[in-house]
């Protein structure tokens, strides 16, 4: 009798790794990893990889010996899951680091934000490389193009997207039409951006004339990408407006459309605004649709309805693929990375702005 009791108690307490076991294994893994790397040539990336593998192997086998196979499997799964997260962080850090390192020299060049590429030829770039002259040319035209095209796309998409969301939430009632719209909006979110660009191009080629490439065509292409995002986010926001608010308004004899414009939308406006901001952030970095619809310009063009237009993404793309001076791509690379840094800053600001809008203007629903 007593023997079984003792054995039971020991079964609960024995066979567990001490709390500090992972730290010991980590320290050993780091030291052994450094030693191995020292033999074949040290670098920080390899050190991290080797140490992580050693840590996982060490912890899992120790756990397997002391705790048994099930616990060891659990430890292995934990190591793999945490490892997956760390692996996912690598490209993020690497991309941001690369853009910062390569982009800052371009960004701090005088006139980078204030001048266009008008008249900047390969000769200037050769001079910049060979004689150390300052790198000329900037992104003013591309920045203006991006802002105008995105603004026009927003002006098209927001009313259409918002009205569709209102139809789905307030009038749809799960009718076949509403269900079809929901389904196809979901499908539309998956349209490849270049196909949206081709659609706009094909549409304007057929309606206006072959070879029509203007900022407005690009804006239509971006709208195709932007509308589904606006619909989805606005729909979610309208859905969470409490029904009591609508019923209170109807009870006072207010018409449905007045209820929607005066009660429902103001309640949901913060969520809608942040959704729209996120949609803008999504399309502002789109390259392919602008490439096939707005062409590429090196000069300032403030008319979205006439002539080719530059934008930040296409500026980056063409500066990398077709450097201004083919023999000396250095200055072009510098401009491209500078533009990439500006673009990333724009997108991050929009994302941050969306979160701020959602937080600051959130309605007090008492939840």
């Amino acid at each position: 009798m007593t023997a079984t009791v003792v054995r039971k108690r020991s079964a609960l307490t024995k066979g567990q790794l001490p709390k500090f076991a992972p730290y010991i294994v980590l320290a050993v893994a780091l030291i052994v990893g450094a030693a191995i790397l020292a033999l074949i040539g040290f670098n920080a990336f390899g050190w991290g990889i080797v140490s992580a593998i050693l840590f996982a192997v060490g912890l899992v086998s120790w756990s397997g010996v002391v705790e048994g196979a099930r616990k060891a499997k659990d430890k292995l799964a934990t190591c793999l899951v945490v490892g997956a997260f760390l692996i996912a962080l690598l490209p993020l850090i690497s991309v941001i680091f690369t853009v910062l390192v390569n982009g800052i020299p371009g960004l701090i060049t005088p006139g980078f934000l204030g001048t266009s590429m008008n008249g900047v030829t390969g000769a200037f770039d050769n001079k910049a490389v060979e004689e150390g002259a300052p790198v000329l040319g900037g992104i003013y035209h591309a920045l203006m193009g991006t802002l105008q095209i995105t603004l026009l796309a927003t002006v098209i998409s927001v009313p259409v997207g918002l009205l569709t969301a209102i139809y789905l939430v307030e009038y749809g009632n799960d009718r076949p039409l509403a269900r079809a719209i929901t389904f196809f909006v979901d499908v539309m979110t998956g349209i490849p951006s270049i196909v949206a660009g081709l659609f706009a191009a094909a549409f304007f080629f057929a309606v206006v004339g072959p070879g029509t490439k203007t900022g407005a065509v690009a804006a239509v292409a971006l709208s195709v990408l932007m509308i589904p995002v606006v619909v989805r986010s606005s729909e979610e926001m309208l859905k969470i407006v409490p029904n009591e608010l609508r019923e209170a308004s109807y009870a006072l004899g207010v018409r449905k459309w007045r209820t929607i414009t005066k009660v429902v939308i103001p309640t949901a406006i913060s969520g809608i605004a942040s959704g729209v901001t996120l949609a803008i952030a999504r399309v502002i970095g789109e390259t392919a649709p602008i490439l096939v619809t707005a062409g590429f310009a090196t000069t300032i063009n403030n008319n979205v309805f006439g002539g080719w237009m530059a934008s930040l993404p296409t500026f980056i793309y063409t500066q990398i693929l077709n450097p201004t001076s083919p023999s000396n791509p250095g200055p072009s690379d510098q401009r491209a990375w500078g533009a990439a840094l500006v673009l990333i800053i724009l997108v991050m600001l929009l994302n941050l702005g969306a979160r701020l809008i959602a937080r600051l203007f959130a309605p007090k629903t008492g939840r």
Partner: protein, 310 residues
């Protein structure tokens, strides 16, 4: 009298109602029309390429000989991206939903979402300037040691601008999509299932294997399909990273091409029948991605109906 004043008054308000609901419905129909228009205009502009004499199409063997290799190239790139991204994305989703401390979880989710916020052209530039250079020694190693496998046949590209590099960049881009969708599904796992598993003495991994993954399987599948749709249609990463060429089996030599990159690289300078050929290629891409997305959405909606029973 009273009924009269209730039913006849405020004609303006009623007109407002009609106009507003009409506008809302028109906007919804416009979306359907746009999607229909996408298909229609692509078809109309693509027909000349399909009916043109074979020798007018690039390559001289007709449209299908032109499109077949780049369709295969597109699939290769997308499959590489998914093979790499799927396990990592599910791991990340599990980490955020079940492993990370509660307080950190939403912040970490935001960090992964940042991956989705970076514009594709920046990924392309990063892949071409940084990743291709760093990874080419690994390709040399693969060519020397695993060269007997056809997909790693040497000589490896010296610049590293290969379909495998493009696939890796694509995997980074589809990772946040698969992660965020799977995370949502994992968080919806019924708490009772999880607690029941733990109460029976399951370890955390056994709980995930028994409760979370079976519940989330349809969600994971549709997340992968949506990631596939993105990987198929992604342009810039491939256009900037891959030095394209004819279809080759080896993943570590330059060669292969995807539809989206082919369009982006050639459309700006194209004219005449070439424009129609590229639009027809876009139509093929549209049909493929539409099919993939519709299957994914269908799985999600079917799953939605089932999840009520849980």
């Amino acid at each position: 009298m009273t009924t009269n004043s209730l039913t006849t008054s405020q004609g303006a308000g009623r007109a407002g109602d009609k106009v507003f609901s009409g506008a809302a419905m028109a906007a919804g129909c416009l979306i359907l029309a746009v999607l229909f228009g996408v298909a229609l205009f692509l078809v109309v502009q693509a027909i000349p390429a399909l009916t043109a004499p074979p020798e007018d199409i690039q390559g001289g063997n007709g449209f299908f000989a032109y499109i077949a290799p780049i369709v295969v190239g597109t699939l290769i790139a997308a499959v590489i991206a998914l093979v790499i991204a799927t396990p990592v994305a599910i791991g990340v989703a599990l980490f955020i939903s079940h492993y990370a401390p509660r307080r950190l979880a939403s912040g970490l989710g935001y960090v992964v979402d940042l991956l989705a916020a970076i514009p594709s052209v920046v990924y392309g530039a990063w892949g071409a300037a940084f990743l291709a250079k760093e990874i080419s020694p690994a390709y040399d190693w693969l060519a020397n040691n695993l060269g007997w496998i056809p997909i790693f046949e040497g000589p490896a590209s010296a610049t590293g601008k290969t379909i495998l590099t493009a696939g890796i960049v694509l995997s980074v881009m589809v990772l946040p999509i698969i992660t965020s969708l799977s995370r949502e599904i994992f968080l919806q796992t019924p708490k009772l299932h999880e607690e029941a598993a733990l109460a029976l003495g399951a370890t955390r991994w056994e709980m995930i294997k028994m409760a979370v993954l079976p519940f989330g399987r349809p969600g994971i599948i549709s997340a992968i399909m949506l990631g596939l749709g993105r990987a198929l249609g992604e342009t810039m990463a491939v256009a900037l990273v891959l030095s394209s060429g004819v279809l080759t089996a080896s993943l570590i030599q330059s060669g292969n091409q995807t539809i989206a990159a082919e369009i982006a690289l050639n459309f700006p300078e194209a004219s005449g029948i070439k424009v129609n050929t590229l639009i027809a290629a876009g139509l093929v891409l549209f049909v493929i991605t539409l099919g993939v997305n519709m299957i994914a959405r269908w799985i999600i909606t079917r799953h939605k109906e089932f999840s009520g029973a849980n």
